[in-house]
């Protein structure tokens, strides 16, 4: 299969992730959308690694996974704290800081 298709798929996934961030209200889902975007990047890296014929892309993908994991830790910590305080996972709920 042509690696270009993977890149296109990655772009689609990235877009889905971005749209998810914009339209979903639940903090967890928003967060998952971000992870989807990261993984789209991973896919693109791997696909490009294949196209370029070097391994840099694959290496990057691993690193990104690790980073994503770290991000999950931090992110969930924050989201959980906010959830505990507000009893709501809605991302629109915390709206004290504005203007």
């Amino acid at each position: 299969m042509n690696p270009t298709n993977y890149v296109i798929l990655a772009s689609v996934l990235f877009s889905i992730g971005a749209i998810g961030v914009l339209v979903r209200r639940n903090a967890i889902i928003v967060f998952m959308s971000v992870e989807l975007m990261l993984n789209a990047a991973n896919l693109a890296f791997v696909a490009f690694a294949r196209m370029n014929g070097n391994l840099d892309g694959q290496t990057v993908a691993f690193f990104v996974m690790v980073v994503a994991a770290a991000e999950v830790v931090v992110g969930l910590a924050i989201i959980v704290t906010v959830f505990r305080t507000r009893q709501s996972a809605s991302i629109d709920e915390p709206n004290l800081l504005k203007y």
């Binding site: 971005a18 961030v21 914009l22 339209v23 209200r25 928003v30 991302i91 629109d92 709206n95 004290l96 800081l97 504005k98 203007y99």
Partner: protein, 629 residues
């Protein structure tokens, strides 16, 4: 004309000015401390100047005619690039007579004021201002260049301002002073511009340089110079159309009216034109305009003087008219300059006498100025009456009183120039006879029309002695100057003199004029001496009504100048607040409003922020990609 350096007594020329100036400085700056002796110091300084002036006259008479122009340079005053003006004085025959007029009449009026102002708490200040005036006036006539003359010119204006509004707690006095100053400023514009034009044309503003080179300049330039100087002269000498301030100036104490607004300052315009004779001699149009302005003023003054019930205002109208005569004479050119100065001198003396006499009357009448409440004062104020009569006969021009000689010469010169000018001058002389007779009749003759609490009495000696001296002057000065002093040949080296033949012998004009004057006087006597004078002025005809309103001088000024100025000022204030400042504050408001709106975009919702980031992303990528394509 050779200019001689100042030697001998003439090296004290600066002292003529310095003495009264020092007097003014001491009186004004030492404050209350000099209250007791200040007035006497004021009298002393002017008298000293007068003595010095007389000594200089004696010395000058010893000199040959062509060496009588004496100059004293103090130091280089203003110097920039090509422009260089000295602080320097010049005493010649013309300034000499002015020095004497100013100092002697000035000294007399100072003495008179000792009595007249004896009860005024601000007496010291009054004498300080008077001294300041004398100094400034002397500077005016002694300056050897136009710029320094300007200093004196404005200095007398300042003194006049201060003295008109001397009783400044009266709103009318305060307003009158301001009015005088501002109208004079209009004249100053003329003087300023004339000086500038002189510099641009000749590169110098010294009298000798300007007159020496005047013929090299184009006639257009000289005409412009002449008209500008005329504007200046009209301001200072209350000539049409800048006459409106003089009548209001009578708000000042009477000695001020006598000294400044009759004898000396108001004649400065005549001096200026006589001094600048070379320019007018070469600028026919300017000279003609001078004549026109003068004739208008002669009649305006006379008509106003005929309608006023306020004795000082009537005299002020008369002053306007008489100065108009002088201006007429200078406008006539070399045939008139000498006589203008001649009339200026005699008028200075007799008008000062008349004003002081009026002051003496007011002094006895509780400062009432309304002649309709006078009457029959000849019995209670004998000295005042007699001295006033001397002035009266002088001004209407009855021989051998001094006014006769000078006015007659002017009328004669007018006939030499032009029949109509001559006839006009005669007609005005007739009106003079009318209004002066009216004044005499209302004041000294007829029945008592005094207010109940008024007890007229003769003034103290300190006032009457100056009156007597001035009355003697009114009587004899004309003859003295003409026959003994030989005023024509005395002034000729400075202002030039020539005479033209007239179609008829001189005596015809003299008799004709006298007849007209006497007719005027008789009409005045019949109207006011023989008939009862009503205490409330009758309505009168349109001319009387107009004359009572100063021939609508104020109304015209208001309509043409004051109202438009006010309107423009209000418009600009509005513009400044709304448009200029409005723009500034408006910009601030727009920025603030924009800020307030943009602030709302910060909604606090994460997803809005994310959307804006995506929007930014689209923008960034689009910019990158589109630019490339």
């Amino acid at each position: 004309m050779t200019v001689m350096p100042a030697e001998g007594i003439f090296s004290l020329m600066w002292l003529l000015i310095a003495l009264p100036l020092a007097g003014a400085a001491i009186l004004l700056f030492t404050g209350r401390r000099s209250n007791s002796w200040g007035p006497y110091l004021g009298v002393l300084t002017v008298t000293a100047s007068a003595v010095l002036g007389v000594l200089m006259l004696i010395n000058m008479m010893d000199l040959p005619a062509e060496e009588r122009t004496i100059s004293q340079v103090a130091y280089q005053w203003v110097f920039v690039g090509d422009f260089s003006v000295d602080l320097a004085f010049q005493l010649d025959q013309l300034s000499m007579v002015f020095v004497l007029l100013i100092t002697i009449v000035g000294a007399l009026i100072h003495i008179y004021s000792l009595g007249y102002m004896s009860h005024d708490p601000d007496r010291r200040k009054f004498f300080g201002y008077l001294n300041l005036f004398v100094a400034a006036m002397l500077l005016l006539v002694l300056a050897n260049n136009y710029l320094l003359l300007y200093v004196g010119w404005e200095g007398v204006g300042l003194a006049s301002y201060l003295l008109i509004s001397f009783w400044q707690y009266k709103p009318s006095a305060a307003a009158a002073g301001k009015k005088a100053f501002i109208i004079n400023r209009v004249g100053d514009v003329g003087l300023s511009l004339a000086i500038m034009l002189m510099f641009v044309t000749f590169g110098s503003v010294n009298f000798s340089d300007v007159f020496g080179s005047a013929t090299n300049a184009s006639e257009g330039t000289l005409t412009a110079l002449g008209l500008l100087l005329l504007l200046a002269a009209a301001g200072k000498s209350a000539q049409f159309p800048l006459q409106a301030w003089l009548l209001d100036a009578m708000e000042g104490p009477t000695p001020v009216s006598a000294l400044i607004h009759a004898a000396t300052m108001v004649t400065a315009g005549v001096y200026l034109i006589a001094r600048s004779n070379v320019i007018y001699n070469n600028a026919e149009i300017a000279a003609t305009v001078v004549v026109i302005v003068a004739l208008i003023t002669v009649f305006m003054g006379a008509i106003i003087g005929s309608a006023k019930d306020d004795i000082k205002k009537a005299l002020a109208g008369s002053t306007m008219s008489q100065i108009g005569y002088m201006m007429l004479a200078v406008g006539l050119g070399p045939i008139g300059y000498v006589f203008a100065i001649f009339h200026l001198l005699t008028h200075g003396v007799f008008k000062a006498g008349l004003f002081l006499g009026a002051g003496s009357v007011m002094h006895g009448m509780n400062d009432d100025v309304n002649m309709r409440r006078y009457g029959a004062l000849r019995g209670v104020m004998v000295i005042t009456f007699i001295t006033f009569m001397a002035g009266y006969l002088a001004i209407i021009g009855i021989p051998p009183f001094s006014g006769f000689w000078s006015k007659d010469e002017i009328i004669h010169a007018a006939f030499e120039q032009n029949l109509f000018i001559g006839l006009a001058a005669v007609a005005a002389a007739g009106i003079t006879g009318f209004y002066m007779t009216r004044m005499i009749a209302m004041t000294f003759f007829g029945k008592k029309r005094w207010e109940d609490d008024v007890h007229p009495h003769e003034s103290p000696k300190v006032m009457t002695i100056p009156l007597i001296v001035l009355a003697l002057g009114s009587t004899f000065l004309g003859m003295a100057l003409l026959f003994w002093g030989d005023i024509e040949s005395w002034l000729e080296p400075v202002v030039g003199f020539e005479s033209e033949p007239t179609p008829l012998p001189s005596s015809v004009y003299i008799v004709f004029t006298l007849v007209v004057v006497i007719i005027g006087a008789i009409i005045g006597w019949i109207s006011y001496g023989r008939r009862e004078v009503p205490e409330v002025a009758p309505a009168g005809n349109w001319l009387t009504r107009a004359a009572r309103k100063d021939l609508y001088g104020d109304a015209v000024n208001h309509a043409l100048v004051v109202a438009p100025t006010n309107y423009a000022a209000r418009l600009l204030v509005w513009f400044d607040n709304k448009a200029v400042d409005g723009f500034v504050n408006g910009s601030a408001a727009v920025v603030g409003g924009l800020s307030g709106r943009m602030r709302r975009t910060q909604s606090g919702f994460i997803r809005t922020y994310a959307l804006s980031m995506v929007g930014g992303a689209v923008l960034v990528i689009a910019a990158l990609v589109l630019v490339r394509i």
